[in-house]
Symmetry: C2
Subunit: 197 residues, 2 copies
């Protein structure tokens, strides 16, 4: 190999990121080397900075820079509503839509017998505590429409039964979605939830 | 946005890498934050290290850590043969095959009237110098089978005409390639270069 050892090690590490394989890691590293002053050095600095400061919110599991995240600490967010998501990427997706103004609870995964992930690994007891301590009236279960996601939603619903209003995101045809490209489950769900026009 | 500004800036920077869009950049950054001790900090350290040391070889354009790269400096590589490639990724691909034992010359792109890239931007004069000063007998033009790649190959062939043996990589069906999946140009090239079995 002509690249020196540091460059090879850098390619190997980049290839471990989700979405990057060996080939795209090589292309990314070459791009970084070509732009070392403008991109590589600032990127490395920022990574050091985030690695030193990022942590999970003790209340909700969101990622921030303090013990309590910006959303939990904000007095501009509505109290009484908690949106439950599987991970921080889902929270970010909800925030990009800008439609939800309440608080979040990040489970950090889904229940899985196979992977031995039980309620304690998922901050579910903490969610139950919050429902009481934060005077929550509605919990929105925004879990993925997968088997594990729905199993987890049912488990949480059982835990909170009678203590709070439980809702979930509507299922149906995505805006701009063409029926031809949708899977059967989505079409079935959209038909079952049909409404008058 | 719930992520703090450093995290957002990190996602924006990662999204500028080839092969990563906003979505995969978000997933990569979340992965890094989850593995900050094991992956993010070492990755940032290594980036700093490579940013500080990597540079282009003054002789051939390969990337290394000195003025002259390991391949140019090696006494284990054959003299007299230069393999001309468009960029360092192509050099790495040739080295992975392990089949070529000579020297390289990295053009850094292809001639392009549209992008105003002429011979001087591509280290072509330097290649002509090397053919004389390094007693080169064969130049292998390992350029991509694109219009710009082949235009560049022809230009270099004109410059070196009569001074050296000029060859190019054979074109044909890739090993394991199924005809059904190949483009017409490849099939045409493979048919034209057919040989007796
Ligand atoms: Zn929080
Ligand atoms: Zn070199």
């Amino acid at each position: 190999m002509s690249a020196n050892r540091d460059i090879e090690a850098l390619i190997d590490m980049m290839a471990r990121l989700p979405g990057l394989g060996p080939r795209s890691a090589r292309r990314a590293v070459l791009h970084l080397i070509r732009k070392r002053a403008l991109l590589m050095t600032p990127l490395a600095d920022l990574m050091q900075q985030v690695a030193a400061t990022a942590r999970e919110c003790l209340n909700c599991g969101n990622i921030g820079t303090g013990d309590i995240c910006e959303i939990c600490a904000s007095d501009k967010r509505a109290n009484g509503m908690i949106c439950v998501v599987e991970d921080v990427a889902d929270l970010w997706a909800m925030e990009r839509s800008g439609v939800f103004k309440g608080r979040y609870h990040v489970l950090g995964g889904t229940l899985s017998a196979l992977d031995q992930i039980g309620p304690d690994q998922l901050r579910i007891p903490r969610l139950v505590d919050r429902v009481d301590s934060e005077n929550v009236t509605e919990v929105i279960l925004a879990l993925n429409a997968t088997v594990d996601g729905q199993t987890t939603a049912h488990y949480i619903a059982d835990q909170l039964e009678g203590r709070v209003t439980l809702t979930s995101l509507a299922q149906g045809v995505p805006i701009g979605g063409e029926l031809d490209y949708l899977d059967d489950g989505t079409i079935t769900a959209a038909l079952n939830a049909r409404r008058k026009v």
